[in-house]
Assembly symmetry: C2
Homo-oligomer: 174 residues x 2
Amino acid sequence: MPASNEEVISRIEAASSSYSSTFDKGHLALPPAKKYLVLTCMDARIDPARAFGIELGDAHVIRNAGASARDALRSIIISQQLLATEAIVIVKHTGCGMLTFKNEDAYNVVETNLGVEAKKELEERKLDFLPFPELKQAIQEDVEFLRGTKLVKDEVPIRGWVYEVETGKTVRVV
Amino acid sequence: MPASNEEVISRIEAASSSYSSTFDKGHLALPPAKKYLVLTCMDARIDPARAFGIELGDAHVIRNAGASARDALRSIIISQQLLATEAIVIVKHTGCGMLTFKNEDAYNVVETNLGVEAKKELEERKLDFLPFPELKQAIQEDVEFLRGTKLVKDEVPIRGWVYEVETGKTVRVV
């Protein structure tokens, strides 16, 4: 059942009250202590801190639709050049929504749901939804994209993993 | 102390083993059960699930440098139009790195760290790092940006919050 707007507000207020009552990490510094960044999907079934063992303060966590490295480039540059992270971990996952459509499908859905003016805005923005037809190949392509740009140092370790939404396991592929 | 590449791999493997051993959420569906999305910063000091009370499977979580709505537009459209989320929660935070520099500074750091060819690539990509000088104003501007685009329905509730990295509290501002 969808949460109402009021329910979402109540949940955050309740979490804030409970979380802050035992919070003892106010001393953590801005730059990630363990100097790595994790790029994963926005998918609701992923809890990166617990599934990937990220302690509070240790790593940047970037999340977008499909864990796209292209889409994350701005954040990756800031993480590495301004906040000194050194390694990149990409985690895509089984059952990803990005495997289920093409750009053209998304453009059509936007037109159906939001109207022709919205589709025009997509076209003006040249918005690429960056879907992909195959999971491991998409990870490989993201690694190659990051290896190919001059905006990531050649010596930065880049690893690719698959999180299995069915089992809770994270399996290394690159 | 930064984690070595091997240490990062070991951490993920250990987390995967532990997390999957008690994992019982393999049945969760792709679309977020509570039909909302949370946009927050990649900052290492934020654990959205615990701080904002997000149960596994309930909400999309998008994270980038500064919790930028502009940068997240692709993911927001996919979340709302293809996976049926209805409400948007933006959470920026105190002590955000985006408050500390301007585009020009980031361009200069890239040139210093990565060389003139890297700076040229930034220019070719017209990369805007989207820094902001004031927190609440940045939240307001993101809300206005989302209200202004035809790619988000007018009736979608959009709320803005500030997470306090010093106290663990999340405080509503919009």
